[in-house]
Structure formats: C-alpha cells, structure tokens
Amino acid sequence: MPVQLVAPDWSLLVPPLVVLGTILVLLAADLVLPRERQAGLTVVALLGLAVSLVSLLAIDWTAGASTFGGMYRADSFSLFVSLVALVAGILSILVSAGYVESGIEPGGMALAEYLSLLLFSVLGTMLVGAAGDLLMIFLGIEMSSLAVYALTAFARRRLTSIEGALKYFLLGAFATAIFLYGIAWVYGLTGSIMLDDIAGALRDIVQGDAPVEASLLLALLLLAVGLGFKVAAVPFHMWTPDAYQGAPTPVSAYMSVVPKVAGFAAMARVLVQGLSPLSEQWLLLIAILAFITMVYGNVVAIAQRDVKRMLGYSSIGHTGYMLAGLAAFTSLQPGDRSVGSMLFYLFAYAFMNIGAFGVVAWLQERGQGVDLEDFQGLAARSPLAAIAMTIFMLSLMGMPPLIGFYAKYYVILALIEAGLLWLAVAIVIMSAVSAFFYLRVVAVMYFNEPAGAWQPARTPLLGAGLAVMALGNLALGLFSGPVLDLAQRWALAFA
C-alpha cells in the first residue's frame, strides 16, 4: 500500500500540546530553580491545565475530524474524556498543594517531578480518549499508568508506598501483556489496528446467528481482561487497596479517578467503537463483571478501618456501577444512553472521590492519621471540613440532590432501557450497603468527641479545592442537565 504523507492538522492537538508544553516548562524550571523556590510551580501546572481546558472550546468537536491518518480523533467522545481528565487533574493538584512540600511523607517529595508526572498521566488519558487505533490506546494507557506507578512510589522513604507501587507495577505489566496479546490477535484476525476498520471487518465476519470463531472470542476476552485491570474490576482488582493505601494521599485521590478515566475511555473505544459487532458476546461479560465488582467492593469496604483503604474498596464498587453503564449498551444510535451515563459517572466521580481523599489529606496536614478514629469530633474542630466530608460521603452514597445521585440515576435509567433490570436493582441494593461505611464516617465526625493532638495549619489552595468540590457536588447535581447533554453526544463520535 503506498503511503501518503499528509501534513497533520496540528490545530486539533492544541489541548494535549498545551499540557505537554506545561510539562516541559515544569521540567526546565526544575533544572533552573532550587528546591525551596519551586512553590510557584503548582500555579504554573494549574494554569497549564486551565489553558488546555479553555482551548477545548476552540475546536469544533462536532465535525469528528481526525489527523495523523486517523490515529488522533477530535470528536465529541474525546472532548468529554479530555474535559474529565483536565478537571480531575486540576482538582488533584489543588488537593496536592501543600501536601507535597509538607513534611508528612518522610524525606519530602520533589514538587516539579511530582507535577510533571501527574501532567504526563493526564496527557496520556487525553490521548486514550482521542485514540483512533489500538496502538494509540496502548500508548496512552501506558503513558498514563507509568506516571502513576512512579507517583505511587513518591513517598520513597515509606515502605508501604514502595510496596504499593511495586505491586501495582508488576500486576500492571502482567495485564499490559495480556492486553497487547489481545491486540495481536485482533490484528491477526482483522488485518487492522484502526478501530473503524476493525468494526468494518468484524461486520463481515460476524453474520447472523452463526457461532463466533473461538479465536475472535479469545481476542475479545484478552482485551477485556487487560482493560478490566486498568479500571480495577474484580477479579483483576487486587492491586487497588494496597496501592491506594500506600500512595501519598493526593496521589490516591488522583489515581482513583484519572487512570480509571483512561481505562473506561479505552473500554468504550475498543468494545463499543471497535468491537460493537461482537457486542452480544461482551455485553454479558461486562454485566457480570459489573455485578461481582460492585458487590465485592461494597461488601469488603465495610470491614476497613483505614479510610484510604475503605475509599479504595469503595472505588472498586464505583467501578462496578460504571461498568454497569457500559453493560447497558444496545446500539450506536443517538438515543442510547449507556456510554453517556458512564462518562457522566466518571465526571461526577472526580468531584466526589477527589474531595473525599482531599479531606483525608487536609487532616494529615493537621497531624492526624488516616484511620476512622482520626475523624472523631471533626465537626467540633472544623465544622466546614466536616460539612465538606459529609457532602462527599452522601454524594458517594448517592443521596439526592447531590451529583452522585444523578450519576447513579442515569446509569440505572440506561440499564432499565436496556432491559437489565436485575443489574439496576443490584445498584440500588449496593447503594444501601454502601451507606453503612460512608455514614460511619459522618457519624464519627459528628457524634464522637475529638481526641488526640491537633496542629493548626494553613492550606488555602486545598481549602479552596475542597470548597469547589463540595459546592460542585451540590450545584452540578442541581444543574446536571448540560453536562449530561454533553456526555450523551458520545454516539456521534462512534457512528
């Protein structure tokens, strides 16, 4: 096949390029500025992400343009993934501000490296969202993951941090291998790695009710397992609690959201865009994974005393809800809500979960630990922090009118429309179970007396971040319509 060299359309790449540029500025600054004068870099990183967020507006996403021979797509799906990744990135940096420079982690953390790694991961996630072929997806996921492995180990004098990172890395490498193996099979069977071409080829191969080739099934399952690891679906979730608990708290906040966004974006791209002709084969698998994942995550979270670990298991539970959104897929018609409800859930999840980890970090900066006992009497010590944590817990639980309620509501709606009533019922029951461990935090904050020493600290950026997220949970719940509209345009991208 003759290769045509066409000049890439760089204008479509402005948002990721802005992030890349910011990373380069951060790395250069790290070389020039001494460690103690780097505090302003947080603002630089925030500004970079904000500019990238604004630059999203400049691109016409409805046209579904692509460049680099179709590898990079600027469509409504990539717009939303970029939006979530950037917003989550900004919120995570607000949560990290102060924590990184403080002496909480033995030996301290290098701010410039920290920020640039975090931005690399955001960049990788944006690329997954915009990927037009399997190779881009693979590269994006790896860029996102590798940065997070390093971030997990960022408290390098604390053994649990290193242990979590090592487990995450080893298992991640294993899953990556499985995923790559799946890509190889797909390429072998369809002759292409472009998602649209794969879908086209599969439409010819899969016809009528005839049984599907075993080789195709194998390819499909390998891809699903590889991505299942990235989103921490049971039984590929084992790394999650250890990594969340071990990582520095702001990193836990970040890794509970953005790599998940990358994983789910990849799932949607691969399964819905590329393998939609095989949807009859993968829908049941996703539905069952969703069910086991939500049950396991929510039930085991009950037994946790360490709040970070509890949030780790709870995030497995939420993975289950998001998978359920994907399992509601019926067709690529614009009326289908499945992928949209999943995307909306991810957006909502950023505001709830980063907020919850943020309050943990806030306590740590005031000399507290991360156990349930450390939340005792928080309402008496700081009513505002307690209110914020209560909002996050209620939102994670799915209490109206907070955004967490609407996220679950839209997933349930999609499930009912797809006829998966049993999964919808499971979500409702699991929400009730989750009340047990979320409300326990609230109860401890309000009904117990404060105990232990308290070191006042000034954390303006973190405070502002928590306020933004707490109000966001409320406001975005009441005004969820526009965001949902945007998320529901996903089908235009895949059609």
């Binding site: 039984p235 698998l285 396991y296 039930v299």
Partner: protein, 633 residues
Amino acid sequence: MEWIADWLFIIPLAPLVAAAVNFLLGRWWIRDRAHWIAVPAVGISFLASIPAFLAVAQHHEPLSQHLYTWIPAGDFQVPVTLYVDQLTAVMLLVVTGVGFLVHLYSIGYMHGDPGYHRFFAYLPLFVFSMLMLVLASNFLVLFVFWEAVGLCSYLLIGFWFRRRSAADAAKKAFIVNRVGDFGFGVGVMLIFVTLGTLNYAEVFERVGTLSAGTVTAIALLLFTGAVGKSAQVPLFVWLPDAMEGPTPVSALIHAATMVTAGIFMVARAHPIFVASPTAMLVVAIVGALTAFIAATIAVTQYDIKRVVAYSTVSQLGYMAIALGTGAWIAAIFHLFTHAFFKALLFLGSGSVMHGLHDELDMRRMGGLKRYMPLTYWTFLIGAAANAGILPLAGFWSKDEIIVGAWVAGYPVIALIALAAAFFTSLYMFRAVFMTFHGEERFDREHLHPHDPSWTMSVPLVILAVGAAVAGFVGVPPEQGWFHHLLEPVFEGTEHHEVSLATTLTFGVVSTLVALAGLYAAAAAYVFRSVSPAAVAERLGPLYRLAHNKWYFDDIYQRFIVEPARASAVFLWRQIDVGVIDAAVNGVASLVVWTSQLWRRAQTGLVANYVLAIALGTVIIVGAYLVAGSSLFR
C-alpha cells in the same frame, strides 16, 4: 418592555443571592447589617417585576425564559422555565411589593434580635421560593417550591425555637400541611400517569381526553393541597398557631402571600377544575364553610394577632368561594386587595405589640388612639377595608365574590358569605374599639406606647394607601381595568352576565350588612349599650362552640393525635424493636461477617494477586469457549 423576557431570572435570583450571602456570612461578619443585603435585593426583585408586569399588561402575550432542563430523562422532561402571564404578573407584584415593605418593616421590628441575620436569610429565601412558585411553568417545579415555601414557613414560625410554643406551632404547621401536600403530590403524580406530562400548557391542552372521574380525582387531590396551604376547613388549624412567629412573618407569609398559594394554584389549574363540576362544587362549599366558621371564631378571640389570623382564614374562604363558583377573576382580585389590608393589619398589630412590649391580649389594651395616632389611622383603614366598607379595597372584591356566587346559581353560598360578612365587620371593629378606644387597660406606670420609627411607619402608610384605593382597579364591577387585564388568562371559561340591578342591590345589601356589624361592635364596646358578656351568656352553647374554635383542635387531639401516638408506641415497642431491629441487625452482622471473610482473600502477596488475575482470565475464557463457540459443538 419585551427585553425583560431575557432578564426574568433577576426576579428570583436577587433574593436567593441575599439569602445565600446572609446564610454564609451572616453569623461571622454581617450580623446586624443583614438588612443591607436583604432589603435592596427584594427591592431589585420588585423593580424587575414592574417591566415584566407592564410587558404582559400591554401586549397580552405571556413571557417565558428557559433556564435549563432540570431532569432530562427521555420523554420525561422537566424544564425550569420562568413563565409570566397576567396572573403571574399580578402575583409577582404582590409578592415583591408586600415582600419589600415587610422587609423594610422588619429592620425596626427585629432590631436587636440575636437571630437578626438568620431572619434576613430566611425571609429572602421565602421570597425566592414564592417567586419560583408563581413563575413555574410545570407542576413539578410548582410542587418543589410549594414545599420550599412550606419549609420557610416552618423555619420562620419556629424562628424563636427556644420557646416551646413556637417550636410546637412550627411542627403543627408542618404536619398539618403534610396532609394537604400528600394529596397534592398524589394529584401531580396522577396527572403524570394519565397525561404523560407535567407542563402546564400540555396538561391543560389534554385535559379533555380524560374521563370525568379522573379529572374529578385530579382536581380534588390538587385542591387538598390548597386546603392545607390556604388554611381551609378542616385543615385551617395550623394558621392561628402560626402567629407564634415574628409579626412581619405573619404579615408576609401567613396573610399576603404563601397562604394564597393554594388559591393561585387552583386559579392556575382552572382548566382542570372547569372540567369537573363536582370538584368546583366541593371548592365552593369548603370555601363557604371556611369563611363562615373562621369569622365566627374571630369574634370570640382576645389575642389581637389571632383575630387577624382567623380573619385571614375567613378571607381565604371567600377566595375559595369565588374559585368554586367560577368567578376566577374575582378570586384573584380579592387575593390582590387582601394582600394590602391584611399585611397592613398584621403590621399594625405588630406596631401595637412593639409599643406595649409584646402584649397580645386586647383586654389589656384600650385607648391607644391617643398614643399611636399613625398606627390607629392605618389600622382603622385596614379594618374598614377588611370589613368591606365602601369605597375601600375590600368592599369591591368581596362584593364581587358574593354577586358571583349568586349569579352562578349558588344562592345559599351567597347568603352564607353575606352572613360571614356581618361577622367580619363585627370582629374587625371589635378589635379596633378594644385596642384603640375606651379606657386604658394597660400598665401605664411602665408602658409608654408610641408610634414606631420611620422604617416601620412607611410600610404602614403605603399599605394603608393601597388598602384604601387598590379596589379601584376593579371598578366598575366586572368591567374594571383588572378584569380586562386578567381576561386572557381565563379565556374560554364560562362567564355570567351581571345586570346593573343585581350589582347595585348587592352593593347596597353588603354595605348594610357591614354597617350592621360596625353598629353591633360600637354598641358593645363604645356606647356600652349591650354587654358582650351578657350576649355570650345568652348564646350559651353557640358562643362556646365559636370560642373553642368549633372544637377542631380537640377533635384532632382525641381522634387522630392520641390514637396515632398509641399505635406509634405499640409499633415502636413490639414491631420495631422486636422484629425490624432484629432483622436489620441480623443482616448487618451477616454482611460484616462476609466482609471479614472475603477480606482474607487480600493476602498482600503479589504472587497470589497474579494468580487471581490468571485464574480469572482462564475461567472467563473457558466459560466462553464452552458456552459460546463452535469449537465444542
């Protein structure tokens, strides 16, 4: 004036912002300056309402502004759209106008209260909710803000929550309203189930497709909500107790605006009611009973605020009569004039209380005319307007309601309304004479009553002017400017022609009735030619019936509250502790046990984790290959 359509959002937004600011910053920073936020905000709302009113008054075209879609769920769309037609425009002026005056009055009245900032957070929040209620364009938004004004009412009745009676009154208002709201909620659901939409325009368009029984059910359920909110028989018992709240609250919420929400809602939903003659009849009868019962109770009360409160209940009854007899415009006209004179009467009573250190009992007042001339004259105008003395506002609107009932073919209801008008005049002037005339029965050693400061006087004067002249917008009867304004809203409803002779006859009769009430009050409390005690003695059981509020509270206590408490205790001791708690605890310990068990799977060893992934993969692939492929077939 069309430009206002894009700026409608200002009207509810301004008080909302004020409420938010005073909530968030009031306690720490704003404190005694809270009125600097709240009063201008409501003023802005009022100023923004004027062009909206003028726009719909001039062009007869409703305005609407779509804000956003609250619930976009397939066919179930709930848009938050601000909608202003002539009916809403009138309500906007009433709510923001009276609201502004009451805010102004509260500066002086609430001065020095430790909860000052809290008061000026709740009050604008109420104004916001009430504005959204009248601006709603579908039943769900209406319902949400229907509940929101109920919440504000609860918060403000119980404003002095450390006082037991205030906390109890707040709870009573909330619970009694719950009965009505339950019916209202079911009504809204029934609309959605049968018509598949909640937007006013679509609902009213499709009413014709429903069976007669369904329409009647919907109308009656909606009216149940109005019975609670607008204090009709038998749910009116909460409103007199609601006087435990600060007096400006009584004036704004429990006289001029919130309690008229039920009347507004029925007028808004008139296509549903018109479709059901049965429901209309029920509305008219309930209204007549309310007007009469409350008027008789008011004659026997000694607490000045309670007299005015029962008067409110009675006047709401008049409005319901108008609704039930199809005199839609008369109902809104009375709502409009009532807002002026009733707010005035409450603020006037507040002024009296202010001068007498929170004295409420009229038996310990008297002769205040000398000390508080401004309060006296304004209160007198309000009382005369309420009593329906020509040419004050209340005369025009009340007379129209009585005529309306007569020509619509309900002579009995018209006569009951006339009888109630006699009592209205009697209790109103009884209150005036007992408070301002006669001997000075208060403690002259320690109390030095005087007229209040300007922030409190100005609203009194403005409202008094309104109570005097507001009725002229509806003159001549049935043909006034107000009627032409509202005609487009009630287009297509049946209209009864009223002959000039009928109008004049009723004008004369109701004037005579009002003067009779005035004479009776004067005879008893000024000339002392009749002894009230002797009359009460003579009437015996009838007097006791009225004095004891027709025993409504006692009946509820005996037949609802006590049995409910007894069954609650039974359910708590036997069912709740014995069965439910045991079951819940059982499930909880089962889950915790499972959780502890599964948790052991997390060994912490990487090798085990890898094994889990590998096993998971093998199981999934194996299951698929066995079940789904051609390999094994």
